[in-house]
Subunit: 292 residues, 4 copies
């Protein structure tokens, strides 16, 4: 089928390619002239036959909101917008309202898979009305991995449910990564184990901890067995924070997911103010030496 795709960055660029391989007719727009098919959103909308389907894949926050607002002005009743970026679920309701004023439908979709999605397909979680989700199914089917639809796609609930499910997915992801990371550090620190990369590789089949993340870890260690060529400085992109806030809103204990988030915060500090306070206290009561 025909669709518009707004945003051709790291994710959107690959998604256009995967959609085209599946036979879809994709009209792509981006601010970057070298990757886009059309020079403006207006042109994109003009090239699509009504009822249109436009997939939005731009950075979360203001860029997404502005794109939705602009599409609200350009699209017609019965058109459908799918927001596939990393929006916070709480933005979706307002997005839907903005578009509803013009009779434009809205579906949010959490997309997982990163740079591997082009070849392996993307895990998809959609939120919105059943008929809207159904209408976009050929697009979802092209993007998701081979195999049974339900193993790579879910209709999670109403508007916002797709991004909510993706947010929790990322919260879990933080926890999984931190678990492997702590295990790696312990193996590397313990004198008992001589071949850390080989041990992790031996876990990739047959063990309880085998996973795609473990496979990636093995690949990373293959190139750099002690991970010496990078620093332990880890960004976070929002979903982990939102997950903890939602855990708090729902009174759900989240010790592991929050520990993983806080470890990232700490990784970005040259010197911890909290630990300066602890050092100062120890000096006060015990005369313990401090480091300057």
């Amino acid at each position: 089928m025909q669709l518009g795709l707004v945003g051709l960055g790291k994710m959107g660029f690959n998604m256009r390619e995967r959609l085209r391989r599946a036979g879809h007719d994709v009209v792509g727009y981006d601010r970057a002239a070298e990757v886009r098919d059309v020079a403006s959103l207006e042109e994109l909308v003009d090239q699509l036959e009504a009822p249109r389907l436009v997939w939005v894949m731009v950075p979360a926050g203001d860029p997404t909101r502005e794109t939705v607002e602009r599409l609200g002005e350009l699209l017609d009743e019965g058109d459908l917008v799918i927001e596939g970026g990393n929006s916070r679920f709480s933005d979706d309701q307002r997005n839907a309202e903005i578009l509803a004023e013009r009779g434009v439908r809205y579906v949010d979709c959490g997309v997982s898979g990163g740079v591997w999605g082009l070849e392996e397909g993307y895990g998809l979680m959609a939120g919105g009305a059943a008929e809207d989700v159904e209408r976009a199914m050929p697009v979802f089917d092209a993007l998701r991995p081979e195999g049974p639809r339900e193993e790579g796609f879910a209709h999670a609930g109403g508007v916002g449910a797709g991004h909510y499910a993706k947010m929790v997915h990322n919260g879990i992801e933080y926890g999984l990564m931190q678990a492997y990371a702590e295990g790696f550090e312990l193996l590397a620190a313990a004198p008992q184990v001589e071949n850390v990369p080989e041990v992790l590789r031996a876990w990739t089949r047959g063990t309880v901890v085998r996973s795609w993340l473990l496979d990636l870890m093995v690949q990373a260690l293959e190139r750099d067995p002690q991970l010496e060529n990078l620093r332990g400085y880890v960004e976070d992109s929002g979903e982990g924070r939102w997950t903890i806030e939602e855990a708090i809103n729902n009174s759900v204990p989240a010790p592991v997911m929050s520990a993983a988030l806080f470890a990232r915060f700490a990784s970005r500090q040259d010197d911890s103010p909290a630990m300066r306070a602890v050092a100062a206290l120890r000096q006060q009561f015990g005369g313990h030496a401090v480091h300057h």
Copy 2:
């Protein structure tokens, strides 16, 4: 090749079967008469041709130590014992010494895979001298999953390294399980998501969090979509505790693995003494109501 297998419980029974399917000649002994091939350790040793290989798969702690001691009395110089149970790595050095007095060789081997190992193979991590590990390779090859040897087997280091690697594997496993569990609880608690089992199923291909544990979670939810037919009471079998103790010994921060362990402890308490203390304090300073 020919080998003895001591311990035919949940793990050992299946391992004998997998070894036999691979063409090995296994003489199995267990205290339970209905599963064993021979009636005593003496008989087991008698039936094996020297140099013998005996795999021990009995409960960790005293049963393993007693088996090793008894084998030390029965075996001859040049024989090889492989300890494949859930021993603490710190037991291995002593086991090796006991056997070395009689010239018997020792390899420890961490085994992962649970009840699925019979069909899918077991992840193996061995510790010991290179020549001893090499000698047992046909056995390791039969037990490990299909595919490249290094993806299901590692020689982790000297005596004890196999169990050490398996211990860390289990510490990671605790963290992974808790991460999925927290995410599951949040999805179930949040009103936004309507189809929790479907969301988890949609993660099994294409997403960053796909893993074997996730597949198992999906299977569990298939039978019992809200996990209503069991209680949130979780045992632990030692490795998680040892992992945290080793993290402490090596000054390795382990917030996620420890949070997962403590969540298990808490799951087994009907009423938390610590939280009684917090409730008592709140009553003292704020006149806050307490529950009786």
Copy 3:
């Protein structure tokens, strides 16, 4: 000086008494007829001479907002409202704006001390313009403990800073309580220590952990040495949640304060959905028994 006090609950009632003991002329209003001095907010405002000072001490959220709005209608330019309840700091800016439309000034004030404040005084943290804070100083001086002003009162910053400081105070409080509680549980669990209440009492002078909370703990154990007469069920009143959300907003690692919050959430669960998920996983991969 003369002031109005809106809200005569557990906190406000005692504060009126402490203010009167200090010689202030307090006109108190509450919805509950049996404690109030005047029958309506209108009457309260009428009885005060301009420029008026009105202290608001009603539940956070809607009750506080409605009281502020109503006071905005009743008060005159140059009057001053002090919001001393448990409002979230983010409410203060809006409160100040509502009142500013009528030329009414606004100060927020975090108040700590609980039921002991009547006799021992309240710790106070104020936010607002310097001249407004200065004007209310006789009231602050009456409410705060004896001793140097700076040991019981701080002007923390602009509007909202008082409640922000109080929020962090409560986040710390959560952490302190949980630390004592974990220590108590460990002492009670360990066979080595026979006299747990006596050990805690022996910490009240001379040790590094001595504190007012410890004194309260000792008092609680005096009445109920094993805390058998209450349940480990602990509410939370919002500030702990907000503290973690602010830690996240400011990328501040907060492992201790968050662990204390999550322990409260867990204390209120009869059965943990997360731990049901862990139990289900263990059953799936290891055939481990589950509890029903």
Copy 4:
């Protein structure tokens, strides 16, 4: 009364002074010639009249064990050794056995108070037989703070209970310090609060979080309001580690005490291997930039 004191370091030196001020006759020995009263343990034992009381205050581990062994050789039946250092509780049983071979009695005593103990007294927790503890009471009374005995001294149980109680005391101390430290960091990070040291000072009377540690924090901030003159590098001296190990041994959840310990470990890492692993994973799956 007369007693010997072995070890005149930071703690022992001050304790000798406090004991002398109370009228006790203290014979002090240390390896450092400039502080000691006698030149050898032999001389110390010679100068004491039987039945002797010798307080040991040397570093935990080998120095303490060696001192106990040497005293076992020098002392006579009926003499009493008090081990007041930072020994692990599990060392006490063996110490007692070594001395019991010669009929020498043994009491262990946890001592809290740091450099302030000279003036304010030391919190004391003793373990041993009732008659031995009773015999040393004049010494305990001199060392503990003024006031009721039970507020600065406890007989916690049998041999080892004193050090056990002190260990838990320190575990709590870790948690308390970390709670204040996290609150300090959040206050310092938040733009809303302008006067962080003043806010902490205002908590020292009247609030729920008032404590001796808070007083020390205020003093530290007085000299260095942003704690700029030290680094966030924090050592640990063993008790925190042992506390977590005991929590694990007793299946006691200890999320706060362990988080405080792990924060110290992390504070000493220039670059976290675990966070390098997380960064490597993010690069693998998402093409996220890493820092070099």
